[in-house]
């Protein structure tokens, strides 16, 4: 059975999503979804182990050989992303059980899990497949289910947020299809590796740069790279907590993975960075994103939206690493992929705990929570410090490599900006901390009834917090994998 792990990784959540729609009551659907997410997680771990030990895995769907049939191709890069996605899924789903019951209409809950599992399927599918059109199909599976998840939020703003996300997302996806079509028109193949080989022989054609441009813009939309980010803050802010935690930690990460795949495997680093001068496009955008989004985050009153803006800044860090285009830069980017997924999921889950008990996530709602919900707020503080990049947390590891990569290029001002924005992160995290620990609780009855969140929410949150600290204290594994992934993408022999 281990030979079929690549396809099972996608098929299991897909079939489970279908089954989930029929399950009643909601608790059964939840238990089933949790079981599935854990299975998926185990498969991802096994795949990563196999890839680290034995190199790239190739799986041919339907027995059709690689350039013609659809191939699932797993190397260190996507095995790592698979692990990120499935880890977050496996932690968020157990958490969803209680959180969702508070935030979503009862009869819609099985649908929520269906959409959740479909989203998981789509994200895993994008990551695992070696066929560019297949990427589009899975992209749409994940996007459509994400729109649904966002629309399930409690407030009516969720609907408009979902609608805008849908329009922007569809435009982005269509751009990606155009790019893929152009590539197909010049090469006649859809297999990534095959495309990479053939494109390296094609030089003087106008189609390839156009395809490159369409793909870059399309993926950047999905990635919410500044200035194509406008859909993200509201989508994150209005989605149900569990959905936000999952989407924030995975969706943009998978988009980054797509970017890496297309830039390095399909187009090749030489074309992307030397011919198209990608670094000079991405770098300023990343820097502007890091700075402006951190600044905007400081002035938000809705904490969820604040974290959404912070996500945009963090995406800037990741693209900054990629735009450098060296092994260290890519290592930093890929490392931050994992690290940011862990810290943001933990933060959004802590917010979910607050919503569960307090019902609001405006900054005033946090007054006095340090006393009333000590464990939740402690989780928020630790994950927040990780976001700032304090030593012994994963955030520090990311910053370290990012700055190292920037210094290798001798870009002092960029390093200064990265450090300065860490301080801005400190400012917006600290606003919440001050509200929680230094403002007295409101004295009305509602506030007096606020207690610590139930264990079913706290345990998954704290698991992620512990992950944040563990991989901050011993980052050997993540650094090793990210380093190997970067080398694989750049084709550096090891």
């Amino acid at each position: 059975m281990t030979a079929h792990l690549p396809v099972l990784q996608v098929v299991i959540p897909l079939m489970a999503a279908a089954v989930c729609a029929a399950l009643r009551p909601a608790r059964v659907a939840w238990a089933f979804a949790v079981l599935v997410s854990w299975t998926v997680f185990v498969i991802a771990v096994l795949l990563l182990r196999e890839v680290l030990a034995g190199g790239t895995i190739s799986y041919e769907i339907g027995g059709w050989a690689a350039p013609w049939g659809i191939e699932y191709r797993i190397d260190v890069v996507n095995a790592f992303v698979l692990l990120i996605v499935s880890t977050v899924g496996a932690v968020v789903l157990p958490y969803a059980g209680d959180s969702v019951e508070r935030e979503i209409r009862r009869d819609q809950i099985p649908l929520f899990y269906t959409a959740f599992l479909l989203c998981l399927t789509g994200l895993l599918g994008i990551t695992i497949t070696g066929d560019v059109f297949n990427v589009f199909v899975f992209l749409e599976i994940s996007s459509l289910s994400t729109y649904t998840l966002v629309a399930m939020g409690r407030e009516r703003g969720a609907l408009t947020a979902a609608f805008r996300y849908l329009v922007m997302g569809s435009v982005g996806a269509t751009f990606i299809v155009i790019g893929i079509g152009l590539l197909y028109s010049v090469t006649g193949t859809l297999n990534m590796v095959d495309l990479g080989l053939r494109l390296s022989e094609l030089t003087a054609t106008r189609t390839v740069p156009v395809a490159f441009a369409f793909l870059t813009v399309g993926i950047s939309l999905k990635l919410a790279l500044f200035p194509l980010h406008l859909w993200l803050p509201n989508a994150y802010a209005y989605a149900p907590s569990a959905a936000t935690a999952f989407i924030a930690a995975t969706a943009t990460k998978v988009a980054v993975y797509m970017l890496l795949r297309f830039f390095f495997t399909v187009f090749g680093a030489t074309f992307s960075f030397d011919t198209m001068q990608l670094g000079f496009v991405l770098l300023p955008l990343a820097l502007v994103a890091i700075f402006s989004m951190s600044l905007v985050a400081i002035f938000q009153v809705n904490v969820k939206r604040m974290l959404a803006y912070s996500s945009l800044a963090q995406i800037g860090y990741i693209t900054l690493g990629i735009s450098i285009g060296t092994v260290t830069g890519l290592t930093a980017g890929i490392l931050h992929l994992f690290n940011h997924a862990m810290m943001k999921a933990a933060l959004f889950m802590a917010l979910g705990c607050v919503i569960y008990r307090v019902g609001s996530i405006r900054i005033e709602a946090f007054h006095g929570l340090g006393k009333r919900m000590p464990l939740t707020m402690a989780a928020f503080v630790v994950a927040g410090l990780s976001l700032v990049g304090v030593p012994l947390t994963v955030g520090f590891i990311s910053k370290w490599y990012l700055i190292l990569a920037v210094l290798e290029q001798g870009w002092w001002p960029v390093a200064a900006l990265v450090l300065f924005t860490s301080l801005m992160a400190l400012v917006y995290i600290w606003r919440v901390v001050e509200a929680a620990y230094f403002h007295p609780s409101p004295t009305d009855e509602v506030a007096a009834a606020v207690r610590e969140a139930p264990l079913s929410l706290l345990i998954p949150t704290w698991i992620l917090v512990v992950v944040n600290v563990y991989f901050g204290v011993d980052a050997t594994l993540t650094v090793e994998v990210a380093g190997r992934a970067a080398e694989a993408l750049l084709g550096v022999p090891r």
Binding site: E140, L144, Y147, L159, T160, V167, S170, V171, T174
Partner: protein
Amino acid sequence: MEFLVGHYNYWVVVFLMMLGFYVVISRTHMVKVLVGLSVFQTSVFIFYISLGKIRGGTAPILIDGPAVYSNPLTSVLILTAIVVSIATTALGLALVVRINEAYGTVDEEEIDAIERADEAAVLEAR
């Protein structure tokens, strides 16, 4: 002239694409935005299908003797893309219906105005 006529399929595609895209970004009525989105996506379908079409080629069905086939793959791909597009449009329309129920309007500017009023009311209440 050869350039203009020889690539007429591209001109059609580009015209539809720009038309659809313009509607998407310029309209505030949500249904119109969806219409624009559909046109935008359709232009891509035409693009793909025209890529695979060979003048005088037949459908790729096994017949005796040599024959010129059109490339079936592009059509197959676009079949998938059409399904996706339908799903997107359907979901979009479903959202529009619910937005109409929630706000009483489907105009984005009016909705923004309502949201701003809500926010102002919250600030007022404090």
